[in-house]
């Protein structure tokens, strides 16, 4: 008995070893392209950017100097970059809560409807699908100070009771805003377009999250005395949407930091009236590529990377915590 068993295990061990050696080779071959590309296309650039951020390199120069933390110092002192931070953070802080809030609101409303759900869902998702550049140009045209739809509609309200609102009243007497040409309004217009484009995405994610809420919990809440929609929301819906919210907020934040299309389309040079819309991505583009100041472009890139990594790590940590204590 024992002898036979031993030989059987030996033989099977041999085949499994041969098999696993073959597997190993195959596995490396299969993963090789991905690995190589990961290193070349994802990791190497990050390292290169990191290194270059400490230099004053320009494309076309044969050499460069190490300038230490000069670039980073510039980032934190020069007023241009102050505007960059202001514009970027204004955008993020405005777009993220509103876009997430609208997405949640739309999802709740649509979820509670009996009919026409799919129609609303489809329509609200259209901006997510449409090429942002094309739609941005459409918006730009709508915001044209004289022939754009928006100002025309506002002008139409002159002489009507709505003129009571100070904004309208000023516009009627004076002139309605130039929107994209006005340093007070430009950033808000960009925020609006960003929200317009993104909230549909959040809505769909929330709708998916809502289907995961146990129906019986609402019944339990009713039996426990939760009578209004707000109570049900607080007791059942909002906690159940926790993971979804973490995810939605993170994704929206990261995309907000990456805003570029609208800015470059509207103001190809300069980043908006008085640089009021001089966001990070545009700064990287202008400094790094248009002005060939690779050093400082890299520094901004590293900063951007840091922001995004921090956000993602926070998200991961929050999700881990929830999973543990669910």
């Amino acid at each position: 008995m024992a002898v036979i068993d031993a030989s059987v295990t030996d033989a099977s061990r041999e085949t499994t070893m041969a098999r696993s050696a073959g597997e190993r080779r195959a596995a490396w071959v299969l993963t090789a392209p991905a690995l190589i590309l990961m290193v070349i296309v994802l990791l190497a650039p990050v390292i290169i950017a990191g290194l270059l951020s400490f230099t004053n390199y320009s494309l076309g120069n044969s050499g460069f100097d190490w300038v230490g933390t000069d670039n980073y110092e510039k980032l934190f002192t020069r007023s241009t970059y102050e505007k960059m931070f202001l514009a970027t953070l204004t955008y993020v802080v405005t777009v993220v809560p509103i876009s997430v809030g609208l997405g949640l609101g739309a999802a709740l409303l649509i979820n509670s409807l009996g009919r026409f759900r799919e129609i609303y869902k489809t329509i609200y998702f259209l901006p997510v699908m449409a090429t942002l550049l094309a739609m941005a140009i459409a918006w730009e045209f709508m915001l044209h100070p004289s022939i754009g739809m928006i100002n025309r509609a506002l002008e139409a309200t002159c002489g009507t009771p709505i003129e009571v609102i100070p904004f309208i009243a000023n516009g009627c007497t004076d002139r309605f805003p130039l929107w994209l040409g006005d340093k007070r309004y430009a950033i808000w217009v960009i925020c609006f377009i960003g929200i317009w484009q993104g909230f549909g995405f959040n809505m769909v994610l929330y709708l998916a999250g809502l289907t995961g809420v146990h129906r019986e919990l609402y019944h339990a809440a009713e039996m426990d005395g939760a009578k209004s929609a707000w109570e049900r929301f607080r007791l059942v819906t909002w906690p159940a949407l926790g993971p979804t919210t973490v995810f939605v907020v993170t994704i929206t934040c990261i995309r907000a930091f990456q805003v570029f299309d609208t800015i470059e389309a509207f103001w190809p040079q300069g980043g908006g009236p008085n640089k009021s819309t001089y966001v990070m991505m545009f700064a990287i583009f202008e400094k790094g590529i248009q002005q060939n100041l690779i050093g400082i472009g890299s520094a901004i890139t590293m900063l951007f990377l840091a922001f995004v990594m921090v956000l993602t790590l926070i998200q991961r940590w929050l999700v881990e915590r929830k999973v543990h204590y669910k």
């Binding site: 195959a26 490396w28 071959v29 994802l42 650039p45 699908m129 090429t131 739609m135 890139t301």
Partner: protein, 320 residues
């Protein structure tokens, strides 16, 4: 149902805000410059014949033309002949606004070429992504090898890197290699989709090992298994990923803007539109809106035909 009226009211207001630019874009692509200026004509515009000024200018008769035409108009002064020729030119150059807008969209700039570029680029990116990601995902999901955990940890780490962050250094690398303004530049940085690897791995882990063992017993090599066995089972997930990839890259503006600077032949649709905008003067809103409509339409139509799939694909992230 009646109780819901206020919900429908709010949602309809939302619909108006959401649809407004689409409406305007399509509507103005039908209208003549005059109608655009004055903001009239309903949705389709009145479609009255308009005169294409540029076309007329092109056919502006010079001295030789007038001399050549003199034989046909005996007894008329030069000025009168000129008028007649100009009037004829105007008549020839009259067309309906919608025709004007859309034909200009395709002739002022090589829009067809741009669309073709869009197709080439998105298709190439997706295909290469699949070729790279699928085998790697299979290996990570189903094969045991030393270093597997390390590779997967690398994948997870790379997920943290937003693509926009590597744009600048990638551009430098490509510039050094002289590869800017090429299809390769447009495609190569996107060929590695860590997200795709992650997604496919999740999916493959749900495929029963028996299926793969059976294939091995049939004599299939690992590589064959990936394409013959795993690919067919992964079609739904791949479809969702395809949609995600195609939409993202058809609409991408940032990277092409960086990497394609001189060569118009390489413009992707968003770049083409942007150039149109830069070139045109005020009277070219119509054709510009027509271009925008043409660029946006393919995805929108596809979306309307397969909404569930699209929403699934674009919100793939949610499946994590």
């Amino acid at each position: 149902m009646i109780r819901d009226w206020w919900k429908h009211l709010i949602l309809t207001l939302g619909v108006i805000v959401v649809i407004a630019p689409f409406y305007m874009m399509v509507s103005y692509s039908f209208k003549s410059p005059g109608e655009i200026d004055r903001g009239e004509g309903g949705f389709f515009g009145r479609q009255e014949l308009m005169v294409d000024e540029r076309c007329v200018k092109l056919r502006d008769p010079n001295r030789d033309d007038i001399a050549a035409a003199a034989s046909r108009f005996p007894g008329q002064s030069d000025a009168e002949i000129r008028d007649v020729l100009v009037a004829k030119a105007e008549a020839d150059c009259a067309m309906r606004p919608v025709v004007f807008n859309y034909s200009k969209a395709f002739t002022e700039a090589p829009l067809l070429r741009y669309l073709l570029n869009g197709v080439i680029v998105t298709a190439s990116i997706f295909l290469i992504q699949v070729v790279v990601a699928l085998p790697a995902a299979f290996a990570l999901a189903k094969l045991n090898f030393w270093g597997r955990d390390a590779v997967f940890a690398l994948v997870l780490f790379c997920l943290l890197i937003p693509v926009h962050a590597i744009a600048l250094p990638l551009y430098i690398m490509l510039a050094k290699l002289g590869l800017t303004n090429t299809y390769a530049a447009l495609v190569v940085p996107w060929t590695i989709s860590v997200f795709g690897i992650f997604l496919m791995r999740q999916f493959f882990m749900t495929v029963p090992d028996d299926l793969i063992d059976a294939a091995r017993m049939d004599g299939m090599g690992e590589f064959t298994i990936v394409w013959r066995v795993m690919l067919p089972t992964a079609v739904p997930a791949l479809l969702a990923f395809a949609i995600f990839s195609v939409v993202a890259h058809w609409n991408d503006y940032f990277w092409p803007r960086i990497v394609v600077t001189g060569n118009r032949d390489l413009f992707t649709p968003p770049l083409g539109l942007r150039e149109f905008k830069g070139d045109g003067d005020g009277s070219f809103f119509g054709p510009m809106m027509a271009t925008a409509t043409v660029i946006v339409t393919p995805l929108i139509v596809a979306f309307l035909l397969a909404q569930k799939r699209f929403i699934e694909g674009i919100t793939l992230n949610g499946m994590k």
